[in-house]
């Protein structure tokens, strides 16, 4: 059993009272105190066009998490970072399924796409991941990407 720790620190002077978050979590299997013991390893996706594509597919052949057990009773965490020093550029991070092609579509609950949020240059996120087939893929679409100026997205998945 492995011990994986995530430490989040957020500090802000946004108000007179400020905001201070200093929170640590140990990544565990669903409903237990046993640590997650599998990982995709740190991966990098090099995006060379503006296509809307799957970044991480749950439990499918060819996926970095191909051996992930995808059920509603398992736990997984995903960390994603957009590697760019340009804060005017971003990548759309979505939930759904981009496997139907390169067309960004709106969510309708049947396996297409809904935008969670945008990571601008140098921003990152960490979320739990359901990894459900069909509707649980994590998708990405860069605002700027060419073969000469790739959008680089780094990610790692921890799962059971």
């Amino acid at each position: 059993m492995a011990t994986i720790t995530a430490q989040l620190t957020v500090n802000s002077d946004i108000s007179d009272y400020g905001i201070s978050i200093n929170k640590s979590m140990t990544l565990t299997k669903a409903g237990t105190n046993q640590g997650l013991e599998r990982t995709s390893g740190v991966q990098r996706a090099y995006l060379t066009n503006l296509n809307h594509v799957d970044l991480i597919k749950g439990g499918l052949a060819g996926s970095p998490v191909a051996d992930m057990t995808v059920t509603g009773a398992t736990a997984a965490k995903v960390y994603i970072k957009y590697l760019s020093d340009d804060t005017s550029k971003f990548v759309r991070i979505g939930l759904g399924n981009a496997a139907d092609g390169t067309t960004q579509t709106a969510n309708n609950g049947d396996g297409t796409f809904f935008e969670i949020g945008r990571l601008y240059g140098n921003e990152w996120m960490i979320i739990p991941w359901n990894g459900a087939s069909n509707v649980g893929d994590i998708t990405v679409q860069p605002s700027v990407a060419t073969t000469a100026d790739e959008a680089i997205v780094e990610y790692i998945v921890f799962f059971e």
Binding site: V10, Y17, I19, N122, W124, I126, N130
Partner: protein, 155 residues
């Protein structure tokens, strides 16, 4: 201008053959700029006693034209001490994942409105696994909030 910084450190000494240590820090800016975010809901704490799905940011009008696609950051933490208890976090009714006891998430939020005919908005909702009482903490740090207008109607 406010300055908000966020940092994450992911570590494990025994997951892999070699130690894992990954760190990242960034400043939260308004979309496409280097101007700091200047609005927040503040840190909220809720004690949920039903297994119903609740919208944790009702004061943010997700369909707002002014703030859709702007920069917003969300923190949610399940404060339960029971490792079997979790909250299911959804966006636009799609499950992102489950936060078990003491788990948190930190993510951007586009406040998108679905183009689907069901008129689903990009609400972020949570659903406790038990009705015996679960505490959660959450905040949104953002660049724009369109508050609901006064409504004094009682029916």
């Amino acid at each position: 201008m406010a300055t908000t910084t966020a940092a994450i450190t992911l570590t494990s000494a025994d997951l892999l053959t070699d130690a894992l240590s990954l760190s990242a820090t960034n400043t939260l800016y308004k979309s496409g700029s280097t101007v700091g975010l200047d609005q927040t809901t503040g840190m909220a704490r809720a004690f949920l006693t039903a297994t119903t799905v609740v919208d944790i940011f009702p004061q943010l009008i997700e369909a707002s034209i002014a703030f859709e696609n702007k920069s917003s950051w969300v923190y949610i933490c399940n404060k339960s001490e029971d490792e079997t208890e979790f909250i299911t976090v959804k966006i636009c009714e799609q499950v992102i994942g489950k936060l078990y006891a003491q788990d948190f998430l930190w993510m951007p939020w586009s406040m998108r409105e679905s183009a689907n005919a069901n008129n689903h908005h990009g609400d972020i909702t949570v659903e406790p696994s038990v009705a015996t009482g679960m505490a959660i903490e959450f905040t949104c740090i953002n660049e724009g909030t369109e508050y609901p207008t006064e409504n004094l109607a009682t029916a």
